[in-house]
């Protein structure tokens, strides 16, 4: 009995000690004069999405931990799971996650719900001179992560535009000029279908998920069409949208793989990397993938270009991913230090050296010798990057809390039309009704 009591007493003491030491929210530091060591002992829970933006964190996190004494507990999920986890964490207000990867299309929802910490004050008062790179990131890239009053809620880790990637070897072989418009793409597809029967002339995302909305909505913008207008009115069945989607659906139905209505980014890129497709419209991030000898069989055979539509606007595939700090985090200062490190030129240079990616929102990297040397083989792409980034136009994007529902309602109809179940006109009329009911 005495032993049990003694054991209980020891256990209680351990628990009390544990609570006293564990309750401190942010690491107390070691008293070191190094400002980066101020949060030593802190553990940051970081919620990330799969993709090349995340690779740098998993590859170099030990270096951050060594420099700051902060431990990173990284969780990586697909986009939908990441969002689920963040929303559930915010609803419980526990603040388990300190840092979260933010896709720009969810920013209105996250900002309006008050789930992300504003970063302007941190940027002004707690800037790490060497690591902070915000001033070198363009306003258009940072704009995706700001509210209407200019408060920044995420740092911009990646920012991509839409490009048509094409097989220059096949284009040269058949004397097809580089496409400049959506109509040129259709014309090129017609020739390729006839001359290269073993290659799909065109591939793009066509499945019914919101992840494919960027393709059809971006193509529509080349015709000046968008799902929502600035005043909130729905214009899914406007004449310019019909013209845009007729062109796009025709490409997907007649010049793409039979399963185009189920094609996501994965199957699309697989076809292209295996040399089974001649043209691919998507975000510019895919260019470096297709140019990588490790995963692609079309290295040295590709080029990319911007495409304009009837309205003279550039077809878009805008994507922006950032890192934000949860409003409920108890380690916000340490999290801010991490955000600065992630976007630092030091990490960016490492990403280039290791070939993780070559498109960055921090424009300083493009002038470095390391970058120029490393990107010699994809000079065709990096030389166009400034033009691609300049072409990004976010006005077409439905920046609303209901983005997910609107995007899905529209894309489902486009997918069904690609599958041949509905005409473009029918699909767009149904999309109009569906999106209107969401907006109401």
């Amino acid at each position: 009995m005495k032993r049990i009591r003694a054991l209980s007493l020891i256990m209680s003491l351990i628990m009390v000690l544990g609570m006293l030491t564990g309750c401190s929210s942010e690491g107390s530091g070691t008293g070191s004069s190094d400002p980066r060591k101020k949060y030593e002992g802190t553990t940051l829970n970081v919620l990330l999405k799969t993709g090349y933006e995340t690779s740098a964190i998993t590859e170099y996190k030990e270096e951050f931990e060594a420099a700051t004494g902060i431990t990173l507990n990284v969780e990586i999920y697909d986009e939908a799971t990441l969002r689920d986890k963040f929303i559930l964490d915010c609803n419980t207000q526990k603040g388990y996650y300190d840092v979260v990867a933010t896709q720009f299309w969810y920013m209105p929802q996250y900002i309006n719900s008050g789930w992300l910490e504003g970063l302007n004050e941190y940027n002004t008062n707690q800037s790490d001179e060497e690591w902070n790179s915000l001033e070198y990131i363009s306003d258009s890239a940072l704009g995706m992560f700001k509210d209407s009053e200019g408060e920044l809620f995420s740092t911009c880790v990646s920012c991509t535009g839409g490009v048509l990637i094409y097989r220059k070897d096949l284009f040269e072989k058949h004397n097809i000029p580089t496409p400049e418009t959506t109509e040129d793409v259709l014309e090129a597809a017609k020739i390729l279908k006839e001359k290269e029967p073993d290659v799909y002339p065109f591939v793009a995302r066509g499945d019914s998920t919101s992840g494919s909305f960027g393709t059809s909505a971006g193509w529509a913008w080349a015709y000046g069409a968008s799902v929502l207008q600035e005043d909130g009115s729905v214009t899914c069945n406007a004449p310019e949208m019909k013209a845009a989607m007729s062109n796009f659906v025709s490409l997907m139905q007649d010049y793409s793989s039979e399963d185009a209505a189920a094609m996501g980014w994965d199957t699309m890129s697989e076809l292209y990397r295996q040399g089974k497709a001649a043209m691919n419209f998507d975000m510019n991030g895919f260019v470096s993938t297709y140019a990588s000898e490790d995963v692609s069989s079309v290295v040295g055979q590709i080029d990319c270009t911007l495409i304009k539509g009837e309205d003279g606007k550039t077809a878009q595939w805008m994507y922006g991913e950032g890192l934000g700090i949860s409003s409920f985090s108890e380690n916000k200062d340490a999290a801010w230090l991490f955000l600065q490190w992630r976007n630092s030129l030091e990490v960016t240079k490492k990403e280039v050296a290791d070939g993780i990616r070559f498109d960055f929102p921090d424009t300083r990297i493009y002038e470095t010798e390391e970058y120029k040397e490393k990107t010699q083989s994809i000079e065709f792409f990096v030389s166009k990057l400034p033009e691609i980034i300049d072409s990004i136009d976010s006005t077409y994007w439905p920046s609303t809390e209901k983005f997910e529902k609107i995007a899905e309602a529209f894309q489902q109809e486009i997918s069904i039309s690609i599958a041949g179940e509905k005409s473009v006109e029918e699909a767009l009329n149904d999309a109009q009704k569906a999106v209107e009911s969401v907006v109401k």
């Binding site: 939908a80 689920d84 929303i87 559930l88 609803n91 929802q109 309006n112 719900s113 008050g114 066509g206 499945d207 019914s208 998920t209 919101s210 793989s257 039979e258 399963d259 185009a260 209505a261 189920a262 094609m263 199957t267 697989e270 076809l271 089974k276 809390e401 997910e404 529902k405 899905e408 489902q412 109809e413 997918s415 069904i416 690609i418 599958a419 179940e421």
Partner: protein, 293 residues
Amino acid sequence: MKEKGFMRLMTFPALIVFLIFGIYPTIQAFINSFTEYNMTESTDKKFIGLQNFIQMFTEARFWQALGRTIIFVGLSVLLSYFIGLCISLLLDKVNKMRNFYRIIYLIPMIIAPTISALNFKFMYNYNFGIINKVLNILGIASIDFLGNPSVSLYASMAIDIWAGVPLAVLILLAGLESQSGEVKEAAMIDGANRFQTLLYITLPLLKKFSVIVIIFRIMDAMKAYEIISLVTGGGPGTASETLNIYISKVGFSWFEMGFASALGIFTLYFIMLFANIAIKKTKIFSEEGKYEN
């Protein structure tokens, strides 16, 4: 008396777990179903009476999803039962390597639905999938399993059938092994052929086992989520969207918890109604005197 008290005490932890994880969420979902509650909006829950149910019953998408669920469950259960029956009849006749075959047929049941779904997604791929490669070798044109709205639901169903057959084999084979050979021999002596013996002796004696298979498979198929979600995502459009997929979209893509709860409560009662009818009609528990009590 003491022993009874002790036994009750032993069931207490299970009861607590059931109350917390079974009853409490159901009650909470029931309450939520009468509210407007979106987890992505900062506003509180708002009581809206039967509006969620009215929206549900007046929405074409709900009825379409329900229709697909009925087709999915009906065909999946019937086909997995029929295939399971054929395999178990064959296995019952096999003497050599009997255990080997049994283990082989159990493999689909052991594999996690997520893994099966991802494997099948690759196998179904129009350009790279092995199924189309085999079809091409046989001189048959490739089938667009995932992008054709008329096929995608059945493509998902085929996986559910593949995963459900082992359960049917397991139970029906046990039923066949428990049957006495004497009755069948007597029938043969009386002039019955093999087919007649199967139809009038073997199958009626298997009734109880068949009912168990069907009830278990109905519950399984009604719960099918991972397979459809990972293989077709409910698409193209909403061509393969069943109730479970729709609920998950409403709940975890749009975070409209009030409406998702209404859909969930409907589905719960729908399954209970199905199970109740099946149990009553087949009197599966009444023979044991359990159900009627």
